[in-house]
Symmetry: C2
Subunit: 268 residues, 2 copies
Amino acid sequence: MHPLDQATALASDSCGGLRGRTSDAYWNFNGPFGGVTAATLMRAVFERADRLGDPCSITVNFTAAIARGAFDVAVRSIRTGRSVQHWYVELRQADVVAANATIVCARRAPTWTHQPAKPPPAPPPHSIELMRHDGPNAFVSQFEFRFVEGSLERLPSFDGRLRSARTSLWLDNAVPRPWDFIGLTTFCDLFFGRIFHVQGTVFPAATVSMTAYFHIDSDGLSALGDGPLLGVADANTFVAGFFDQTAQLWSTDGRLLATTTQIVSYRA
Amino acid sequence: MHPLDQATALASDSCGGLRGRTSDAYWNFNGPFGGVTAATLMRAVFERADRLGDPCSITVNFTAAIARGAFDVAVRSIRTGRSVQHWYVELRQADVVAANATIVCARRAPTWTHQPAKPPPAPPPHSIELMRHDGPNAFVSQFEFRFVEGSLERLPSFDGRLRSARTSLWLDNAVPRPWDFIGLTTFCDLFFGRIFHVQGTVFPAATVSMTAYFHIDSDGLSALGDGPLLGVADANTFVAGFFDQTAQLWSTDGRLLATTTQIVSYRA
């Protein structure tokens, strides 16, 4: 079993709910890597027998710190229309809601298609050196980061020089894994905090809410097999303890797979 | 009372819930203008006595058609931390959830600030002709649209020529209204569907989910007074019945007030 499938596994409990467990393999500064939490909530809907079509959007709110150990996941069906279906999911530890999500699934139909966005220019992934990882956060070792534009500097503290918030990079699983919505959801949160890039230093910062839109269906994802995606991320503003970031995930053949945005709290 | 305040008004019912009513003044093709629905859900949280700080993000899902008439709104407090607070809000007509939202409020503190994004170039609003409105959708008359880049063509049908999805424009209320989070939330949905701009024709298309991040607090909004905001919007991809759009709202003095994204279903 792939480590990401272990980390996002859910078992049915005796009360009709779901039960999961945090994974040390995907640990971040102060809790599980948010991409795995998002993917766990996605799995809770994705494995429903009454799911309509494929995931179209997800918003995950990271509402409280998640402690090492078990958690409960409850799924509520909000509304099923002819082609669009809405879900609400909650992750709890004891009485605390530690994350929640709204997820939209949709049955898609071939129709007029137009992709005005273009992928950032990038040389082939294996021509680029892998980012070395010697930091404390285990989750980084589960992935491969190859920077095309920008890099992750790790100064002891901010030196006052403002760097670009924009990076582009090839992203992959360290252990190959075929693409599906669990993987794609995880990768939507795989862009380092833009404040690290701007300040050239890495410190704890907490995603408050993340939204992702998916522009491909399960068949399209399966057809990709495994292997790297090209990511590009940027930020608009850092103000009064919160910054935004926006990102895109592209297939190697230039198809936009997902667009995502998040708001992150910081103290700096 | 300003028409937007009438349209988003909520009264307490005898069961601890809230009750509102759709507004003909903000009617769109097949239901209320989504920006007003979003602002109504925002008001349900904004008027809470136990609100912490100011709105920081909102995701609204448009889960079913809203019919003319009354609706119920229920607010649930999900989690209150030291500086961040999470809410879940549902709008119902009879037994159908017609919209829901997750809203994050936060107490902000002055800290290191950096705004890498720049507003689009634009001449002063009153140097630009107001968009004429002779269409059937009442909500358009409640606002003023002055296009800087792009325009809203209204061909009888798509002529096959692909136009740019990007527009920038000055946006304002037709009846002046001081800025607050009700107005700012409304304006996050005030960008016409990107498919209309690309195809040069207007037809029903339904926002499925919208997310907005706010980069200003109530005091900052009050200090703006009333008057126009500069908006810029674009799209990344239109595929299999769904397209995304992204937008920014700027103050006249170049401050980024809100960033927003939505996913919209289309048949074309």
